[in-house]
Symmetry: C2
Subunit: 202 residues, 2 copies
DNA sequence: GGTCAAACTATCCAGACGGAAAGTTCTTGG
DNA sequence: CCAAGAACTTTCCGTCTGGATAGTTTGACC
């Protein structure tokens, strides 16, 4: 149609536009500002489309989280694949600084999952994605079998990303990553004392 | 007055009641549910009292964060003081599991500070409290001078507390703390390679 | 060109909201 | 006992909300 160039959203693209708009509104203004009208305006449609596609506001938010999960599985953003702790740390920094909205959205929804059980499987899946990537990187640097290490390292990275969102300080983040890197390097040459004998031999 | 036993809040105690109610409502239902009426009901007063004491909703929330900070400075909950990594980890676990509402409230407000600059000094102060406590514990176990280590360790603890709130799994938390403990013990006997020569000598 | 279903818009309404202002109650001090 | 100020309640109102429903537009298919 000749007025197509005036339309903010291509016909039939309203649903995805609403999901992407939801992510931006959450990141920018928090869950409180996620109203049917605010999201519709951000998406360039009218607020009736929310009811049409999602039924209600809660479903919209849950679908937006699912949408983010699908996109993150496609991208494997956490994993550099080179076996280098430096590269791993660098992809992390890039993730935190390059997609602050996406990260902020995830943290808001993680907290929201405490009060909305239907979000918990999605949050668990999100965390599994990150923990699996952490495990694979640890395996590449020779630390596959240390119990709990994957959880400790992922928690450190998660904590750094969260703090960088809240109170950005790239130097602090870099020095923390350097220290973590050094701890892990120490651990590859002198494994922690309670590694099982079998693992120590191999 | 003979009807005093019927009053939920002692006369003159409305302000503190509203602040404590705000913390509970944030933790339980998120910032979206923090309305003048919801908080007043939780506090056992009427919603006009919010305007009277705080002027507006934003001030109420900021004052609630300040209130939490004052209470946490009084309690130094993160620090065991024994120099034992085990004790440090244990006080952390207790903090995360024993005051889930307080922790949840802090994380919600940390994210909110991204969009409300007036909260940032309060959040920075909160983080300083935690980082100082982490630094002192690291000093007690002989790791005072490793650059960035305090940030890495605090981030790991912060990440663990956050994940425990969102998706409680005490075994995972314990194994992560054990692994972190082992990494730090390794570091006390074989300091990381890039420690400055001066520090290595001393 | 017509039909039909999908996608979307416009309208409506009951209820909740923030906060201001007037009024009431309680406590303290003289 | 009274006055005054602090603390609190009640009332009001414009605005915003969620979501339902009727109506319109678009695109695919025959």
């Amino acid at each position: 149609m000749s007025n197509e160039s005036h339309r903010a959203v291509q016909y039939g693209g309203g649903r995805d536009a609403l999901l992407e708009a939801t992510i931006r509104v959450v990141a920018r203004a928090g869950l409180r500002k996620v109203t049917n009208r605010a999201v519709a305006e951000e998406a360039g449609v009218t607020h009736g489309l929310v009811s049409h596609h999602f039924g209600n506001r809660d479903n919209l938010i849950a679908e937006a989280l699912r949408y983010v999960l699908e996109r993150s599985l496609d991208r494997s953003t956490l994993e550099s694949g080179t076996g280098s702790v430096d590269d791993f740390a660098r992809t992390l920094v890039e993730m935190a600084t390059g997609d602050a909205d996406g990260q902020a959205f995830q943290y808001e929804l993680i907290l929201e999952s405490r009060r909305r059980p239907e979000l918990r499987p999605l949050v668990a899946s999100l965390y599994d994605t990150y923990r699996d990537a952490t495990r694979r990187e640890l395996a590449r640097i020779g630390l596959a079998d240390v119990p709990g290490l994957d959880h400790a390292v992922f928690a450190a990275l998660d904590g750094l990303v969260f703090q960088e969102l809240a109170d950005p300080d790239p130097e602090r983040m870099q020095s923390a990553l350097d220290a973590l890197h050094d701890l892990l390097r120490s651990a590859t040459v002198a494994p922690p004392p309670h590694v099982p004998a079998r693992a120590a031999r191999s």
